[in-house]
């Protein structure tokens, strides 16, 4: 998680106070995770309104089930699992009509090939000030099938370790690595040609 979260110990103390009646502290407990939970929900739900509903439900469920959180995992990992379950449950209900497979689809076989380039000019993070670049990235992530999208969100965006990602998704470390590899190559394949075109030399000059 990128936002500044209290130490695990502080968090355990806050959780203990909430459980013993100081429920108002729940607001402070979850503040560092609002963005993460929303992002994960959005990456699965694909639209803002559903994502917000899922995020709210996840925080409510975490509150109601706080007593069941016994410090077995990090609070953030537990919260992410709840969010994923909430989003998956909702997608499953929505998808009965759409026929999109949302359960753990088997790993697709064959090698994923990257986009071949002869040179690469770094796209600076300032490029994200441009709406079209942000959209390009969002669409590429959202365009991945769910099993790849989840590992990208947890590992790349939320910066969980491979082990934490495996715990949150209830899959093996080896599966995380395989999916992550394929997802990274897929993103490169989609985005490298698009970003290359969107990154003409002159446009960066005026911003540097």
């Amino acid at each position: 998680m990128k936002n500044v979260a209290p130490s695990v110990r502080d968090e355990e103390q806050i959780i203990a106070s909430i459980l013993s009646g100081d429920t108002e502290q729940y607001h402070d407990l979850i503040r560092p995770y609002e963005h993460s939970v929303y992002r994960i929900a959005l990456s699965l739900m694909k639209n803002e309104s559903d994502a917000e509903d899922v995020a709210q439900e996840a925080f409510l469920k975490a509150f109601r089930n706080l007593a069941a959180f016994l410090g077995r995992a990090k609070f953030s990992t537990w919260l992410i699992s709840i969010t994923l379950n909430e989003a998956r449950g909702r997608l499953r209900r929505q998808s009965l009509a759409r026929m999109e497979s949302l359960d753990q689809t088997p790993e697709e076989g064959g090698q994923v090939l990257p986009a071949l380039l002869r040179d690469w000019r770094e796209v600076p993070s300032e490029a994200l000030e441009r709406k079209e670049i942000r959209e390009m990235l969002r669409e590429a992530i959202v365009g991945l099938s769910p099993i790849y999208r989840e590992v990208v969100m947890l590992r790349e965006v939320e910066e969980l370790s491979v082990e934490e990602t495996a715990t949150a998704l209830s899959i093996s470390v080896a599966s995380v690595k395989t999916r992550l590899h394929r997802a990274r190559i897929m993103l490169q394949k989609t985005l490298a040609p698009q970003l290359k075109t969107a990154n003409p030399k002159k446009r960066w000059f005026q911003w540097s």
Binding site: Q56, R64, Q188, L195, K196
Partner: protein, 89 residues
């Protein structure tokens, strides 16, 4: 030992995570020194992942936090008695 481009691509993710064996790492490193295509693939992948991780890609909607905390406040206020009672072990 020489490694072909398509075998290098299998290790891009491991290379970026610095999780390859020293031998494989060395093999890839030597390949990258003379292969501009694999170098460009690696650089672009790394660059794309940095951009992907940026907070600006998935921004919180305006008012998200206020709405969330308002809803939580209602839930917390409504949770009378012992809200954390676990029904069964």
């Amino acid at each position: 030992m020489v490694i072909e481009c398509k075998h290098v691509w299998d290790h891009i993710s491991g290379y970026l995570d610095d999780s390859l064996s020293p031998e494989t790492q060395e093999l890839i490193q030597r390949h990258l020194e003379h292969c501009e295509i694999c170098s460009a693939i690696l650089d672009s992948t790394r660059n794309i992942l940095v951009l992907t991780a940026d907070d600006r890609v998935f921004e919180l909607p305006v008012g998200f936090s206020d709405r969330l905390h308002a809803r939580l406040a209602r839930e917390i206020a409504g949770a009378s008695g012992d809200p954390f009672k676990v029904s069964a072990d």
